[in-house]
């Protein structure tokens, strides 16, 4: 890999507008990428890694300015290239793929048309030639039936297919450098594994240099040749993947790697024989569209699910998007009414309760949601949000507010922070508020729907640790829904794997993860990025 660098950044600094949380998004960043290598840039949100990608493309918003440094690409400094020449570079010289395949394609134009646009603006090929090139590109990225895919609109493709189309588009003109900004973060784990392999294969075949931005050390272990670790807009460590992953030198890198949950389960805890929650044959079917039952689309979101949760245990429900795990969670708390089945909580069948009874009983079972910023009312103060539940259930306001402040201390927040609004907290702190809110009613069972998916790894580790402590201290029983097997391995005693609405396998975490029986579980475990790395390294949690 000692080839001539394709792109080298020399002391690049990018200034943020006044009023931002820091003055510089990037501060004296220097790195270089050679052809035929994959350089992973790792960092948590706000580390400036995406800003770097946009700066290289010169696609930073108007108020953000490239202040100093050089970006040498193909013998010229991109910092001083004029806009017209820069447009020549974009797409043809440096191409980019983005995180959200859902929103990165224009919903109103066909996939083929959007790929063809690359050729239309950068080449003089005829319409027929462009058509052929588009088809061969779609074949290259192994989209099933490329002809149909070319004529399809983005919404007609799955997330993985859309990301394949994006890759096809980015590689259309054989760029020297491909910038991939978290290209697999929004994808399911099996799809992620496929896309990573595809990027790897295409990169090796075409000898492209790839700048791969990610927050996930698993992905780094899977794909990187060299690694750059960023924190607060500065590079804290760089080196070969092997060195950085196995012999990290900077404390921040060590901390990040330690925060990655390993795939091996901790030794099992003794489980109570008393089941607090028993779910038998719960099913939920969605019907959409259709007029007088004609043309209705029926989706069986949950089919015949049966599970038990021992008192004080944590039951993980894992599965990919669309597997019905969230629907099942919502059925358990009766946010959705299941079609049939029984949900026994402490001997009471929740399915048979009436709306008003549910409202009374709901304090026994509470939910923590995925997105901590979207699930808290932005116009109410944090303490009020936490106290709201008890007040509704009849606690006097003053008492509820005092208890709310105690809860803040319990979840590791400053009790005086209760007077602030949700947007004044960080993501991890907001999730702590979400926990405090759920705990305010002193529930027996907590349903946590992807509680850490939106958080950075280090914050994720803290929240998981907190959840474990609370479980011990308050004797909580938890249903923990996640798509991340590594997280499930860390916090759960029991795990159930869901696929297409069915529970395909369940049992003790250690058993399921070390000796998976069902082929789908095996596939899921094999897809965990950096599997070997995740299994081997020891966590500090």
């Amino acid at each position: 890999m000692s080839e001539q660098p394709i792109l080298s950044l020399e002391g690049l600094s990018v200034r943020l507008p006044r009023g931002a949380d820091r003055t510089h998004a990037l501060n004296g960043v220097s790195l270089s990428i050679a052809s035929n290598e994959i350089l992973c840039v790792v960092g948590e949100s706000g580390s400036g890694k995406s800003m770097m990608a946009n700066a290289i493309m010169r696609l930073v918003p108007g108020e953000v300015a490239i202040e100093a440094g050089r970006m040498m690409f193909d013998g010229r400094d991109l910092c001083t290239t004029d806009p017209a020449a820069m447009r020549e570079v974009r797409g043809a010289g440096i191409a980019m793929i983005f995180q959200e395949p859902m929103t990165a394609l224009n919903p109103l134009r066909t996939v083929g048309d959007q790929i063809a646009e690359m050729f239309r603006i950068h080449t003089d090929l005829s319409k027929a030639e462009i058509g052929e090139r588009v088809l061969s590109l779609l074949e290259d990225v192994r989209i099933p039936s490329p002809k149909t895919a070319a004529k399809a609109y983005p919404h007609e493709l799955s997330g993985g297919q859309r990301q394949r189309a994006m890759i096809a588009m980015a590689l259309a003109l054989d760029p020297k450098l491909l910038i991939a900004d978290e290209p697999t973060t929004a994808l399911d784990v099996t799809t992620q594994a496929q896309i990573l392999k595809l990027i790897r294969d295409l990169q090796q075949r075409k000898k492209t240099a790839v700048l791969f931005i990610t927050h996930d050390f698993g992905v780094v272990a899977e794909i990187a040749d060299r690694v750059v670790v960023m924190q607060h807009g500065k590079i804290v460590e760089q080196g070969t993947a092997d060195d950085v992953l196995n012999r990290p030198t900077h404390s921040y890198t060590k901390q990040l790697i330690a925060a990655v949950p390993p795939l091996t389960a901790p030794p099992p805890r003794p489980l109570s024989s008393d089941n607090i929650l028993t779910i038998t044959n719960v099913a939920k079917t969605y019907r959409t569209g259709g007029f007088l039952d004609r043309g209705a689309r029926v989706t069986a979101a949950v089919k015949d699910a049966s599970l038990t949760l021992p008192r004080g245990a944590t039951l993980g429900i894992v599965g990919e998007s669309g597997s019905g795990k969230s629907t099942l969670a919502r059925c358990i708390v009766r946010l959705i009414d299941p079609d049939n089945g029984a949900i026994l909580l402490d001997g009471k069948d929740w399915v048979k309760l009436k709306r008003a009874e549910i409202r009374r009983e709901t304090r026994h079972i509470q939910m923590v949601f995925q997105d901590p910023s979207a699930s808290l009312n932005p116009r109410r103060k944090a303490a009020e949000l936490v106290a709201q539940g008890p007040i509704v259930h009849g606690t006097p306001r003053a008492t509820a507010m005092t208890e709310a402040r105690e809860l803040f201390a319990l979840v590791g927040l400053d009790p005086s922070a209760g007077d602030r609004f949700p947007h004044e907290f960080s993501g991890g702190q907001r999730q702590r508020i979400g926990l405090a809110r759920a705990l305010a009613l002193k529930p027996d069972v907590l349903i946590a729907d992807e509680p850490v998916s939106a958080l950075d790894v280090s914050v994720q580790a803290q929240v998981l640790k907190l959840l474990g402590e609370l479980r011990e201290r308050l004797g909580l029983s938890i249903v923990f829904i996640t798509h991340d097997l590594r997280v499930a391995a860390q916090v759960c005693d029991l795990v159930a794997v869901m696929k297409d609405g069915e529970i395909v396998e369940h049992g003790l975490v250690a058993d399921v993860f070390s000796r998976p029986q069902h082929p789908y579980t095996q596939a899921l475990l094999a897809s965990v990025p950096g599997g070997a790395f995740a299994r081997e390294h020891q966590t500090a949690v």
Binding site: M57, F98, P107, L108, M118, I121, G290, R297
Partner: protein
Amino acid sequence: MRIIGLAGRRLAASIPTLFLILIGVFLLLQLAPGDTVDALMAQMGGGDAATARELRKFYGLDLSIPAQLANYLWHLVRLDLGFSSIYGKPVATVIMERLPPTILLMTASLSFAFFFGLVFGVIASRAVNKWPDTLISTLGLVFYATPSFWFGLMAIVVFSIYLQWLPAGGFEDIGEVRTGIFRVIDIARHLILPTLTLGLIFLAIYLRIMRASMLEVLNLDYVRTARAKGLDETRVVMGHVLRNALLPMVTLIGLQAGTMLGGSVVVESVFSLPGLGRLAYESVIQRDLNTLLGIVFVSALLVVVVNFVVDLLYARLDPRISAEG
């Protein structure tokens, strides 16, 4: 094809609404004192109670209110809008005479507002917070805040009386008989001021929506993708932003068709255009219930048709619609 079925179903669903509106209007007008016969007698210069009774019997106004309503609806089912006692003609004929100016005025104003709203919206969003944006947004606010009758009157003062460029009112020049292209030009000249007057408020609305919608779309991920492909700004806007930004505008047309009909009452009165709006106003004054109900029916029909067309247009613009059903 699925989309036509969908729109057709929406069309069918609007029929009960139509009947509810008619019944509502019918009952509301019963609350107002006086009826057609009172208005007729007043026009004739008065008469005795016997004549009034005769007339009421002749027009079926002596029946109970539910009976009158049932009578009316029964006629309506057979597409008979009844007879206007004031005009002495079938209501359908009266409305058909008055419909063309209104439809012309509406189409012209809508096209004017839509086109210029779009253009100015795009210009404003491309120069956001710079002087063209400030100028356009301020003008938009002025247009939006000014009552249309005042605009109409001022336009007459300036363009018809002071400058004498355009006629002050009417649908065409009644002094001369013109045919063919000359008649078209003449009508167009008469319609310029009313179109501007009615269109300016809608222009202001469209302009603001278009600006906001453009700004929103410009921040979306696929616009960044388009830029990362190396497209220049013009192609980014034309190829990726415009059509997406148009969607809320198209929805708005459907929503505002009704408002525009309402606005045409004022504008037609100011410019003495023989249109549907003025007919409605006159019918209320003269307690001409049949004509009024006929107008309500036709206006509602017009709004339904506009929405039907908008639905089709929307489906044409947005491929996601037909899939989601």
